[in-house]
Structures are given as structure tokens and as C-alpha cells.
């Protein structure tokens, strides 16, 4: 029995060391609708394989930081990142570039939402009434669910979230934030506006229980980022080819995976506001 175990262990190590040669791999941060992620992104992979003429594969990840790690370790060469995760990834990989963003990502916003029991209503300015309430962010590494709301909270309420709120949680996900505020488990929360609008359409939101109380100013969010060294592996001009393939993606079915209206060009400089915000609240060293 022991011999079998040893043999299997050896095989295991051997299997793991076999690297895939020259497959172009991409990932996407887990964000909205995660059901049938593999199936939906497989279609995007098929589209890219056809357009680029190389073998393209999608691998799913579970968290924002897992996406960044896979990108950094060259297990994926292209990734659909959020604002903050993209900035983090590009700081870790020299020469990596933001090449395209969603049309909507040029002016993304975060919604502050509140349970009806708080009596808060939508206001133009920052809702000062949320002070001392219980508050939930989304995922710790999210731009719309963490970075931007925390920035505005610190600026307007003058302190770290755990000082200005009765309690602070991290729901881990935008849909979860909405569910938790709707049930009143948390009184106030911050969520991605696109997820909110989708859930409103899907009839999952009861307007008598939870409502939007503030919309943040716009900021740049999701984008496609590619590693700087892809041209070494896939030939000169590959970055440009990928960019064109993404910008030329106009099949509604494919775009629905993100979900975006279309993709437009982007550059690293577009995300300077995210870098500055991240540094100002200590999320980036």
C-alpha cells in the first residue's frame, strides 16, 4: 500500500511540473453573475482564439487577489481587472499595460444604500446621517465596494471606517451587500451601481426596504490589462492584436458576460486617480 502511495506522490509532482506551452490564458475577477462563469467565458475564449490565431484559454479565479497573483505569476497573461486590482497588478508586473476598458467604466459610480429603518433618503451631497450606523463594504479588494466608498467616508466623516461606524463588515460581494442591507443585518452599505441596477431589473430588490441614498462622483473602473512580455512569446505586435480583438468584440452575447455595452481604449494613465486614492487611504504602499 505504501509503495502505491509513494508512486502516486511521484506522479503527482511530475504532473504538476508539466507546463503548458504557448497557450494564451486570461482570467476575470469574480464580480457579478458567477453562475456558469466557465461556460460564458469559454465563448469569449473561443472568440479570441479565432481572432488571434493562437490557443486561448480561460481560467476562473475566486478572488481579486487571486486574479492579481495569477497575472503576476504569468499563469494568465491577460486579465479583466477592477480599477484597484488592475493598478495593483500593473505595479507588480513591469511593462504591463491597461489596453481596453468597458464603455461604462469611464464613469463608474458607487451607490450608498440604506435600509428603510434608518429613515435616510437620497441626497445630492454625502449622507452625513450614516455616521455611527452599521456599515458593510463588498469585497476587501474591490474598487466600487471598498476603495471609493472608503475614500469618501474618510474624507467626509473624518476618520477610519471602524471609528466612524457602529460596526464595519466586508460582505465579500456586491449582491451580498445588497441582501444584507435589504434584510437590515447591516443598516448601510456600498455597492457597485451596475450590480444594483441589474438586481432592480431582476426584481430582487424591494424598494420599501432598501434604497439608494447617495451616488459617488464618477471614477475609472474595470479594464483589460496585458503583461508586458507577451510579445516575446506570441510575436511582435501581439499586444496591438489583442487590443483590437477586444475593441472589436461587438457580439451582444459575449459582451453580456462582463456585462458591458462595448469596449473602448484605455491606458495606464487613465487609472492614476485610483493609484492616488489607494495611496491616500493606505491600501497601496
Amino acid at each position: 500500500m505504501f509503495r502505491n502511495i509513494f508512486m502516486t506522490a511521484a506522479m503527482l509532482l511530475g504532473l504538476s511540473a508539466a507546463a503548458h506551452a504557448d497557450t494564451f490564458v486570461f482570467t476575470a475577477i469574480p464580480d457579478e453573475d458567477e453562475s456558469r462563469l466557465q461556460t460564458r467565458f469559454q465563448k469569449v475564449a473561443t472568440y479570441l482564439t479565432k481572432t488571434l490565431g493562437v490557443d486561448v484559454k480561460f481560467i476562473p479565479v475566486k478572488s481579486y487577489d487571486a486574479a492579481v497573483t495569477a497575472f503576476r505569476n504569468d499563469q494568465v497573461q491577460l486579465a479583466w481587472f477592477g480599477g484597484l486590482s488592475g493598478v495593483r497588478a500593473r505595479r507588480l508586473v513591469d511593462g504591463s499595460k491597461a489596453i481596453a476598458q468597458g464603455y461604462e467604466d469611464q464613469f463608474f459610480v458607487t451607490y450608498f444604500i440604506a435600509n428603510a429603518s434608518t429613515g435616510l433618503n437620497e441626497s445630492k451631497g454625502f449622507p452625513m446621517g450614516i455616521k455611527d450606523k452599521t456599515f458593510t463594504f463588498g469585497s476587501k479588494g474591490s474598487t466600487s465596494g471598498r476603495l471609493m466608498p472608503e475614500f469618501h467616508i474618510r474624507k467626509e466623516l473624518g476618520g477610519a471606517p471602524d471609528k466612524v461606524f457602529g460596526r464595519v463588515g466586508f460582505s465579500g460581494d456586491h449582491s451580498r451587500t445588497i441582501a444584507l442591507v435589504q434584510s437590515g443585518a447591516y443598516e448601510v452599505g456600498a455597492t457597485n451601481y451596475a450590480v444594483w441596477e441589474n438586481e432592480v431589473k431582476a426584481g430582487k430588490i424591494d424598494p420599501s426596504k432598501v434604497k439608494v441614498i447617495w451616488k459617488t462622483p464618477a471614477y475609472p473602473d474595470y479594464q483589460w490589462t496585458i503583461r508586458g512580455d507577451v510579445e516575446k512569446k506570441f510575436g511582435a505586435g501581439f499586444t496591438e492584436k489583442v487590443t483590437q480583438a477586444l475593441l472589436g468584440m461587438n457580439d451582444k452575447d459575449l459582451l453580456a458576460s462582463f456585462p458591458r455595452k462595448s469596449f473602448v481604449p484605455a491606458s495606464n494613465a487613465d487609472y492614476q486617480p485610483i493609484v492616488d486614492t489607494g495611496k491616500s487611504i493606505g491600501l497601496i504602499d
Binding site: 503527482l12 504532473l15 507546463a19 478572488s63 499563469q75 451580498r176
Partner: protein
């Protein structure tokens, strides 16, 4: 024994006043309605690559536990060396999720990450248990061995056969734990059942959640039916073929992780290690201690102590449910189903359900950890009562419980509970969603911020705390002369 129990109970009551268990009323019924609907309408078609997820859950558990058995056994043979004992205490003090998070940085989403995340901490646990089994094994075969017999022969023919049956029994229990761990590893991205479970749960697809949980319960509940020693090699070879061929890993990543990523930020970015760099490092360290480590330790300990006593109380209620001394076959089957459900549902999901009910505080975490652990120890104690001989004219029902069963299982119960102490401490790690800043919450934050220097230091602190609790637990067990029997952890 009574004094120790009352002491822990009193401590937990005092801590309840310190602990943050405020209950904020809310309107959980819409969400509960959806959950309840999900429970009665399980959807087995909602999960893509469901078969693969089941296969992976089994494969990681089988290979991980098999490797842990080999390494654990070898370590057990050398357990009289202090360095081995300390080393084992250290590797088992780190939660498998943290091992997985560390290996994810090095190996990425390769099968090695999942297998090692199970194999390493389990080797530490198995080494300890196997060495105890060999110590406590019947010594009589040793006495009949002729003088001059070699060490190896003595070991093979006199000591091993006696211990082997216990090893087998314990391995089976470990495999059940391994299946749970394997599923939970999906939470950080490995392609097991937990992967889909977490996604579905996060998005409120409760029909999918209940289908996945039902499948998982079935796997756990039928473990003893399909796991035979003769089939083991077949399962292992199958598991190896099933594991995904990995995305590969590079030596560069390993070197970078070890020599750069985990070096504290002020030292990593300094040009030379001079006074300025060391001052910056000192500030980094004190800041991390005062804002994260110390509050983290305090919250972790408060939560652990209350949950420990909660688990104890729960156990005393649960164990009769599966005991032939109290219930007939039908009642016991119901009891078994109830306990399998409670102990196989990840604590994280239990905690979330209570979070909906009571709002964010330590209360949902306390109840989730108590129930989960009570179901595990309750199962072990219930099984233990099967072998208790009773007089034909013994009392029935409550009288039997209070005047006979309880006093007789009490030492065993305390032994298991103290064993579970460090496990509960480790489990507090994954309840960050509740907004309770335990050490695990800060470790998770450090990984999310891609600050591995902080993550590793906090993991080290967590491990030391674990070892301290384990040592204390051993001292108490020794003082009370609680026999550490088999089938425990």
C-alpha cells in the same frame, strides 16, 4: 473535574459581558424565505462541471490524507525528538486555508497547492495521534519477544500489528475531515465543491446551494460504505489521474516569494539596512502589533473561549441523539442525519444564516462554531456510549442520562472538548464576514491587499497562539488524568 468545568463556564459567562454580542433586529424573513425555498427545491442541474467538482473534492482529500498518513507515520516514529514534536505542533497550528493561501502564491492554482494544504497540517496532526497510539498500545507482545531481537523486527512484529487497527480507524476519521477541508479549499479557488458552493451562496442561488450541500452530506454519510482498504490503491490512482494537469510553476516565483514578498516592506524597499531602515521597520512592526495583532488576539480568544463552552453544552444535548441507550434505530437515524448536516455544513454558511437573523456581531460566530463543534464531539461521544455496558435494570430516559450516562462519559467528553479547543481557535479564522476582527480577519485582509509580509507575520502569531492553547490544554488534560483515547482530534 467539576472545578475545571465550572471555571471554564464562569470564564465564558464573564467573557459574554465583554464580548460584542449585541443583537440588532432586522427583517430577515425575505432572505429566509428564499433560503427555505432553496432547501425544498434543490437544483442539481444548476452547477456546471458538477461531476468534476465532486471528483476533485474526493481526489484532493484522498491524495492529501494518504500523503499525510505516510509523512505523519514517519514523523510519529521520530516523535521522541523535541524538534519533531515542536515542528509538528507548528505545522498543524496553521489552518489549511492559510496553507492554501500561501501555496497559491508559490504554485498558483495547481493540484500541488490543494494537496499540500491538506497534507502538511494533517501530517502534524497524524504524527501526534499515531505516536500517542503507539505509546498507549498494549505492551504484552513486547514481553514475549526473545532477547536479541533487532529493533526493526521488534517494531514490525510486536508493536505495529497492535497499533495498526487503530491507525486504520483513525485514518478513516481523518479522511472525513479531509473531505471537509477539501471542500472548504474551494473557497479560495480550488475546483472542489466549495468553489461552487461559495459562488452560489454568495449570489443567493439557494436551490443550487442545497443541492451541493446534499451531495456533500451523502459523500460524508456513506464514507464507511465505499472506503475499503482493498479499494484504496484504485482510488488513489484514480485520484491522481483526476487531478487537473496544472498551469505549471516556476522556480522564480518560489524564490521571489521567499526572498522578497515576505520581507517586511520597510526592509524590502530600503537601499541599505541602516538605522533609518531599522527605525522604519520598528514602526511597521509596532503599528502592526497595536492595530492588528493585539486586538486580533483578544477577539480571537474571547470568541474561542465562549464557543468552546458553547460546544460543550451543545455536545451534552446532542450525544444522546445517536446513542442506542436513549433512542431506537429510527430515532438514531434521524439523529445521525441531523449531526451529519450540522458538522458538514461549513461554519461560514451557518454563521451567515445567523448573521441574517441577529445582525453583525460575535453572536452568529459563537453559535455557528458551537453548533458545528458540538455536532462533531456529540458524534464521537454518542459512538462511545455504544460500548458502555449497562445493567439490565438500569434507569431510563432522563434518570439514565443524569445519573449514569453523563457521569460515565464525562471524562471522555472533557478530553474531546479540550482536544477541540485549538481546532475552534483555528476555525475563528474564516469568519471575517461578520465584521469581527479576529486574527484570521487580519490575515485575510493582508492577503487581499497583497501584503504577504504582514500576512506571514500574522500567521506566525496565530500559530504561536495555537501552540500556547494546545500546551495549556495538554496540561489540563494531564492534571485531570483524562485519557486521550482514539478517534479524536
Amino acid at each position: 473535574m467539576a472545578r475545571t468545568s465550572l471555571g471554564f463556564l464562569a470564564l465564558a459567562v464573564v467573557l459574554l459581558f465583554v464580548a460584542d454580542i449585541e443583537i440588532s433586529t432586522s427583517d430577515p424573513w425575505t432572505e429566509f424565505g428564499r433560503m427555505a425555498l432553496g432547501v425544498v427545491t434543490p437544483d442539481f442541474t444548476a452547477t456546471e462541471s458538477l461531476f468534476e467538482a465532486i471528483l476533485m473534492t474526493l481526489a484532493f482529500a484522498l491524495v492529501g490524507v494518504a500523503l499525510a498518513n505516510v509523512f505523519g507515520f514517519m514523523l510519529a516514529l521520530a516523535f521522541h525528538y523535541r524538534v519533531v514534536r515542536v515542528g509538528c505542533a507548528f505545522i498543524r497550528a496553521i489552518h489549511e486555508l492559510f496553507w492554501a493561501l500561501i501555496f497559491l502564491q508559490i504554485f498558483g492554482l495547481s493540484p500541488l497547492t490543494g494537496v499540500l494544504a491538506i497534507a502538511i497540517p494533517y501530517s502534524g496532526i497524524i504524527a501526534k495521534v499515531y505516536s500517542e497510539i503507539m505509546e498507549e498500545a498494549d505492551q504484552s507482545p513486547l514481553r514475549v519477544i526473545p532477547a536479541g531481537t533487532g529493533n526493526i523486527s521488534t517494531f514490525l512484529f510486536a508493536r505495529l500489528p497492535e497499533a495498526f487497527a487503530h491507525f486504520k480507524n483513525y485514518s478513516l476519521y481523518r479522511l472525513e475531515c479531509g473531505l471537509r477541508s477539501s471542500a472548504v479549499l474551494g473557497f479560495v479557488g480550488l475546483p472542489t465543491l466549495g468553489y461552487h458552493l461559495e459562488s452560489a451562496f454568495r449570489q443567493g442561488h439557494y436551490s443550487e446551494v442545497s443541492a451541493l450541500l446534499i451531495l456533500f452530506y451523502i459523500i460524508i454519510a456513506t464514507l464507511r460504505r465505499w472506503m475499503h482498504r482493498k479499494l484504496l490503491p484504485l482510488y488513489l490512482i484514480g485520484a491522481l489521474f483526476a487531478l487537473p494537469s496544472s498551469a505549471g510553476f516556476s522556480l522564480d516565483n518560489i524564490i521571489r516569494f521567499l526572498t522578497s514578498d515576505i520581507v517586511p516592506h520597510p526592509l524590502r524597499t530600503a537601499e541599505t539596512i541602516d538605522t533609518a531602515a531599522l527605525t522604519a521597520f520598528w514602526h511597521w512592526l509596532t503599528e502592526l502589533f497595536t492595530t492588528q495583532a493585539l486586538p486580533g488576539i483578544a477577539n480571537t480568544l474571547v470568541l474561542t473561549m465562549i464557543a468552546l463552552v458553547g460546544a460543550g453544552i451543545g455536545t451534552l444535548i446532542f450525544f444522546p441523539l445517536i446513542s442506542p441507550k436513549f433512542f431506537g434505530p429510527k430515532g438514531r437515524t434521524a439523529g445521525h442525519v441531523f449531526l451529519v448536516v450540522l458538522r458538514s455544513t461549513p461554519e461560514y454558511i451557518l454563521a451567515y444564516v445567523f448573521l441574517q437573523l441577529w445582525g453583525p456581531s460575535m453572536a452568529p460566530a459563537i453559535v455557528a462554531l458551537s453548533l458545528h463543534n458540538a455536532a462533531i464531539i456529540g458524534h464521537l461521544i454518542g459512538r462511545h456510549t455504544e460500548t458502555l455496558p449497562l445493567r439490565a435494570d438500569s434507569a431510563k430516559g432522563l434518570n439514565l442520562y443524569f445519573w449514569e450516562a453523563l457521569p460515565r462519559v464525562y471524562p471522555q467528553f472533557l478530553a474531546f472538548l479540550f482536544y477541540r479547543w485549538e481546532v475552534i481557535l483555528r476555525e475563528t479564522a474564516i469568519l471575517g464576514i461578520l465584521g469581527i476582527p479576529t486574527l484570521g480577519f487580519f490575515v485575510d485582509s493582508a492577503f487581499a491587499d497583497i501584503r504577504y509580509d504582514r500576512a506571514l507575520l500574522l500567521i506566525l502569531i496565530t500559530a504561536l497562539l495555537n501552540i500556547a492553547v494546545d500546551t495549556l490544554s495538554r496540561m489540563i488534560r494531564a492534571r485531570l488524568r483524562l485519557k486521550t483515547t482514539l478517534d479524536h482530534e
